[in-house]
């Protein structure tokens, strides 16, 4: 028998793949397999108890005519656009501020990161109390003389903004950390060179920091979009999609159809449409934001 002799490089490659195996097994079972299974299920009517019945494209046909799906799509878009814009800007701002030599820097960094390690169920519950008619938000509004008799989570206009506020608040910390890490990587020399050319304050941010952070801004906004399109916990805990479907997002609609109405096939078809939309958006975003920068 001939023993197999591997070169060092081959050995490294083998070790690498071996180390990746556990991840790929889990990824295969819980992602690849599930996703493909969902695709096949989306062509069936399946209520868990009776074996699936093939119905072709009927689920998709129903979906495109379903007014609730249109509403859920619109809500998801509004939610995603506002959360991603707000959370990216605020996270960047906080990161830039906390990158200065200021007093209590580590405290603030930890404090802003707290929401990222707090379970979103807890956040959602506490916020839903704060949004009551007698709650903190209305109290603050009353202090500055704004209309303050809003029952946020039962108000068709205010419910989605309320959910957006919670989404932004709980995500800012995570993205701030990513921006902070990226800020550390910008060489001092670039700033020094710019300062020699007479650039100050805002211009440094505008012409040095933001362009050099572009790859990380792309990453943060793509991750943000993907997360925002799938928003679920806040909706589930705070509004259950109400009032009057004002906060029904696509992922919440998937949940109610699958697990409350026992319509696994229909839910799968919604899930697939959502996945395609997210994929498309991420692609467009990369095209727009991900151009190479040379300095």
């Amino acid at each position: 028998m001939r023993s197999i002799k591997l070169s060092t490089r081959q050995e490294e490659i083998l070790t690498g793949y071996l180390c990746l195996t556990p991840y790929f097994v889990l990824f295969g079972v819980f992602t690849v397999y599930s996703v493909i299974n969902a695709l096949s299920m989306s062509f069936h009517e399946y209520n868990v108890f009776i074996s699936p019945i093939f119905i072709g494209l009927q689920n998709y046909y129903e979906l495109f005519l379903d007014p609730l799906f249109h509403k859920a799509m619109a809500n998801t878009f509004v939610y995603s656009v506002f959360t991603v814009l707000l959370q990216t800007c605020i996270a960047l701002l906080i990161a830039v501020l906390l990158n200065q030599k200021i007093w209590g820097k580590s405290f603030f960094r930890a404090a802003f990161y707290m929401p990222a390690v707090t379970p979103s169920v807890v956040i959602s519950l506490i916020f839903s109390w704060m949004f009551f008619r007698d709650g903190v938000f209305n109290y603050v509004l009353s202090l500055v003389g704004l209309p303050s008799n809003i029952d946020w989570l039962n108000n068709v206009q205010a419910a989605l903004p309320a959910v957006i506020i919670v989404g932004v608040w709980s995500n800012v910390g995570r993205y701030m950390l990513m921006f902070l890490a990226a800020l550390q990587d910008i060489p001092r020399s670039v700033y020094e060179a710019a300062e020699l050319d007479g650039a100050k304050g805002w211009n440094l941010l505008r012409f040095i920091t933001i362009p050099l952070l572009r790859p990380i801004i792309t990453l943060v906004s793509v991750l943000g979009i993907i997360g925002a399109f799938q928003v679920f916990t806040e909706i589930y805990i705070m509004t259950s999609g109400g009032p009057l479907d004002a906060t029904t997002t696509v992922s919440y609609m998937i949940y109610t159809n699958a697990f409350n109405y026992f319509r696994m096939g229909y839910a799968s078809s919604i899930a697939w449409v959502l996945a395609c939309v997210i994929f498309g958006f991420s692609m467009i975003q990369r095209k727009i934001l991900d151009t190479e920068i040379y300095y």
Partner: protein, 413 residues
């Protein structure tokens, strides 16, 4: 036959006997699941199962409470054939289980037991009957009652509610009890309204309204229903009824417990909450008022059911027979605030000095199950949206119900 052979034969025989005995003595293990409603309820369930095991040495019961997402988990387990041998099913979604053949019919077991289906209250048992077959036995009972804050009633000089109250008495009391002259935080209202249809459909029944016809068609656009729905939602428009969130509470019982509303329409499940969370509150409970057509109420219950996939149907039935049996129900009702599902036990001396429990039990006789056909959950969701559309969205009662009708009739094709 030599001595040797005899000895060998004896040994073999002994061995066979030992193996045989140990096999037959090995207890059957079954599993039971329910949602977890707190440590007291779990402890109570464990105590019942211990007692059952003592009576049935051949059966071991494993209790697997499911803390969250009960329905989701049960569905997944049923699909994977790993469902527990006995589990809870809420009346509101039992048709989805019964109509698809996921459950074992219990009729033959009931026939061969000491039990009789008639021993259970009709409105409770009805929730678990499909095509004439019984798919579960009701665990306990609940109906809606009017909880009233005695201090607020006294302060406003209003007579306490009683079983003979009419809609007018109810509305007039709510009007007198509404006090909105001060700061918003000090305002008190006559009544807290629940958004969930389970809380308000009873009033539609009191006017002769119904959700479905006998053959399962949507009936909530009939004039009796619409009229009652308008009356009920008008309580909000007139400012004498509020939503829990209007007074800074997430549930009706909390709005009531915090003394912000004089009355709440809630089920018997609010009794323990009021005792434990609001011990200083001075309250009582009365039957729902009578509507123009008469009495009406909604029965809330949960069954013990057996999935078709079980490997131990006999042991599972034994457990259900024990849990829903009279002896066990007596033990449960005397140990807490659970109400029995057997009509004979409604008169149990334990309730003699508990007017609030009596009010809940009285409702069982004229209640209908909280269940609306195989589209039960979708109907409940759309009716809640209709309520929101009127109360929050300012639609008329007719238009809101018509919208719900349109959405549902398209889905129920």
């Amino acid at each position: 036959m030599t001595k040797q052979t005899v000895r060998t034969a004896a040994l073999v025989l002994a061995l066979v006997l030992m193996v045989g005995l140990s096999v037959s003595a090995k207890p059957v293990e079954i599993r039971i699941s329910g949602w977890s409603a707190g440590p007291e309820i779990e402890a109570l369930m464990r105590a019942q199962l211990d007692a059952f095991e003592e009576l049935n040495p051949g059966i071991k019961v494993r209790y697997e409470p499911i803390p969250v997402d009960y329905l989701t988990k049960i569905q997944v387990m049923l699909a994977a054939s790993t469902a527990p041998d006995v589990f809870f099913i809420d009346a509101v979604y039992s048709p989805q289980f019964m109509s698809t053949g996921a459950l074992l019919p219990l009729d033959d077991y009931i026939k061969n037991s000491s039990m009789d289906a008639d021993m259970f209250a009709q409105s409770l048992l009805d929730a678990f009957v499909w095509d004439g077959k019984i798919y579960g036995l009701p665990k306990d009972s609940n109906t809606l009652v009017v909880y009233y804050n005695k201090d607020l009633f006294d302060a406003n000089g209003v007579e306490y509610p009683n079983a003979n109250w009419t809609w007018d008495d109810f509305e007039n009391a709510a009007k007198t009890l509404t006090n909105v002259s001060g700061r918003s935080i000090d305002n008190t209202y006559g009544l807290v309204l629940g958004q969930w249809p389970g809380r308000w459909l009873s009033f539609m029944y009191q006017n002769g309204g119904r959700v479905l016809t006998e053959d399962g068609k949507l009936a909530f656009t009939e004039p009796e229903f619409v009229e009652a729905f308008r009356w009920y939602t008008d309580l909000y428009k007139k400012g004498i009824g509020v939503l829990p969130s209007d007074v800074g509470a997430s549930r009706e019982r909390d709005a009531f417990g915090q003394g912000r509303v004089a009355m709440a329409v809630e089920g018997g499940w609010a009794i323990p909450t009021l005792f434990s969370n609001y011990p200083d509150l001075n309250w009582g409970a009365a039957e729902l008022p009578q509507g123009p057509v008469g009495r009406g109420n909604t029965a809330f219950t949960v069954s013990y059911s057996i999935p078709k996939t079980t490997k131990n149907p006999d042991a599972a039935w034994k457990l259900i027979e024990y849990l829903t049996g009279e002896d066990n129900q007596i033990r449960v009702i005397t140990s807490g605030h659970v109400l029995p599902s057997m009509t004979a036990l409604f008169e149990h001396p334990h309730f003699a000095d508990k007017a609030e429990s009596q009010a809940v039990l009285n409702g069982v006789a004229y209640a209908v199950a909280n269940q609306y056909g195989i589209y039960s959950q979708q109907i409940v969701d759309e009716l809640q949206k209709a309520f929101d559309a009127v109360v929050i969205g300012g639609k008329t009662a007719e238009a809101a119900l018509q919208d719900a009708y349109k959405v549902l009739s398209r889905r129920m094709r």
